[in-house]
Symmetry: C2
Amino acid sequence: MNKLDYFFNPKSIAVIGASRNPTKIGHVVFRNFLEGNFSGKLFPINPKTRELFNTKCYSSVLSVKEKIDLAIITVPAALVAKVLTDCGKKKIHAVIIITAGFKEIGNVKEEEKLKEILKKYKMRCIGVNCLGVYDPYSKVDTFFLPPYKLRRPFEGNISFISQSGALGSVVMDWMATKGYKISKFVSYGNATDVDESDLIEYLGNDEKTKVICAYFEGINKGRKFFEISKKVSKKKPIIALKGGTTEEGTKSVASHTGSLAGSTDVIHAAFKQAGVVLANDLEQIFDFARVLSTQPLPKGNRVQIITDGGGFGVLTTDWVVKNGLKLAKMKKENLDKIKKVSPPYVVLKNPIDLTGDTDTERYRVAIDAAIIDPNVDMIALIVLFQVPQLTTDVVDVISEAVRNSDKPIIIISAGGGYTEVLKKSLEENDVPCFSYPERAVESMRALYEYSKNNNKR
Amino acid sequence: MNKLDYFFNPKSIAVIGASRNPTKIGHVVFRNFLEGNFSGKLFPINPKTRELFNTKCYSSVLSVKEKIDLAIITVPAALVAKVLTDCGKKKIHAVIIITAGFKEIGNVKEEEKLKEILKKYKMRCIGVNCLGVYDPYSKVDTFFLPPYKLRRPFEGNISFISQSGALGSVVMDWMATKGYKISKFVSYGNATDVDESDLIEYLGNDEKTKVICAYFEGINKGRKFFEISKKVSKKKPIIALKGGTTEEGTKSVASHTGSLAGSTDVIHAAFKQAGVVLANDLEQIFDFARVLSTQPLPKGNRVQIITDGGGFGVLTTDWVVKNGLKLAKMKKENLDKIKKVSPPYVVLKNPIDLTGDTDTERYRVAIDAAIIDPNVDMIALIVLFQVPQLTTDVVDVISEAVRNSDKPIIIISAGGGYTEVLKKSLEENDVPCFSYPERAVESMRALYEYSKNNNKR
């Protein structure tokens, strides 16, 4: 068994520092487990009490008779070495140390001491200075924020790892709100033991994970990261955002997670070589994840744009060209199919402009024609639902087309409540929808690059 | 009186082509007026009926005895010249021609004929091939989409002009949903008479308009546009997005609004020289508009970042540098004020990291210190509301600070429902909030550039 499994699928957990005091992290973590649906055994550890929320409380993990798979440490920094040694003696395989106050504020020696203890007892550790793990399948949840302040996303196939705890928690809250679903979430802080490379390797083998997303500030061991990412990215996409891409940003990384950010150019080049898809900003991580987790890989970079609003067609054309993609040239025989069901002023070029009086049928024929056309690799489908003749059954037509298409289809659609409801139906059918042409096209570019880099044609 | 006033503040309106048939544009337009709160007189014009929705119907504007300020023409293209001539004879000053089917589909001569009629009778015209005008103050609303499909924004101080009707209507729907408020909205289509320059000049003198936003595909008369924009941008910001910035995009403009898009580089250079703030995408138009309509102009480009999450601080730092802004260096005496109320691990550099255990008081002191510091021109305030000790009164502290500050303050905050509610309170107090560092910092750059270009320091 891979020791990292204990972080995500433990049968028993000790919460060291569990407390009655609601301002303590140990209180929130223990309560989240009690009130959540974790099905394994729970052991609160606190030498000052014998009982906590009707659960027997132990003075140390050493007093627990049963086997403990995972220990979560929330005690003050000065006490961590002592309780960690106890965990070692108890032969616990995995510990999450949430406690901060080590390398990131200059206490390098104290963190080195923890490393020695981990090594001596062959324990694996996530942390220090982290939020730990959230796994919606096994209900392991060490995030010390109550659900009313921080929502948790449902079970899905996107995994996210973040060095920064605050950023990670915000992303999780935001994913839950947007309805994005998750496989595993790890905030690993100072990476005292388990680092980004270990996690990527693990998630690479995790059947529940289809796409790996990451926010890094620094890379712990460059060569290890490069080798592992290169291997994993052949199996599934790794999408990464790097904080500290400017000299000044790098400096502020030092006072944040205490890691060396390294030269940006070198790191970016290494990322690319390793097949990692680079995101430019936080939003893009999820733009890319949605497209890469739902759409087939394109065979080339020729995009056919279909629209019912000229302006959006123009903007999308601009972004296709700016992203180094090409405008597809559909065959006459396929354009003729659209011509047959359309009034004479419909524009049969690229973009195809079905114009503001389009109905669902015109869309159906145009989408089918583009899917079948050998000169088209990807379809950018602009749907402005506001136009008068377009009925809501266009949602079914699009969902059906996307389900059966071997080419990626990306939707661009903007508007108010009416539009949002229809887009939500599409999203629920795994059809990626975007409000803005640039975000949609950048995601198509990422999809194409991933496909190209990994020779998966 | 400026004749363009008749478009926005008419005392009487004729809807030519008003109809009982709900699939007709004239039906929707007339009904929107009937069901809206327009306080002036309404005259439906349709030779085929004597009465429409309990309103007397006229065969022609010439049969109306009273004065008509504005005519809205919705009849088929072949009939437009005839009814337009009637409008001229009736001495109507302003007409909106919604009807399409002219220059944009190659019918250049037909459009030229309309120009001659307009000239002969000295009428001003918005359109052809447009959605027309929406003015929430006077309740003029010629958008032929019912409110359930397309929401209308409330009264505010942002004006928007768009050549593209579909794009304009989507933007309007979207503004209403986001809660952005509007002064005037014009979709002017082929610009047969009134063009972007006329509208910018008019809105420049409009007291209800604080910021002018525009989506262009082409510029009608370069020199006129340049002269007018240069003059207006000294008074208020003009924010523009240009569709057709690539060769391919330009080609698709031709089949959309039939206007010449012109060389991108030349147009962009002219925009800049004229003091126009260029947006990179649709979302940025409103990012910029919100900041430029609510925040004071900065005296320089030195940004102080304040955060409670290290990762967001790092990303914001990166974007400050990438946007050519500078990191402020606050005076020791002001940093010391924050030191006094903070634990030792708070980072007093730039970014100032109040860390994840911050409370409202720490924010209050830090914001005040940055506002008072002579080395700070703008403040990027990151607030992750999820952190455990931060209470909701931080919203009042921020709103109060922004109200009294002579320096721009921009909020960056991301998360789920809890965060969104607090951000909404801030937005209602005219505090611009962003979810992503890059969008916030790009808006600060736009604010700085506008300030610099217009020598308004």
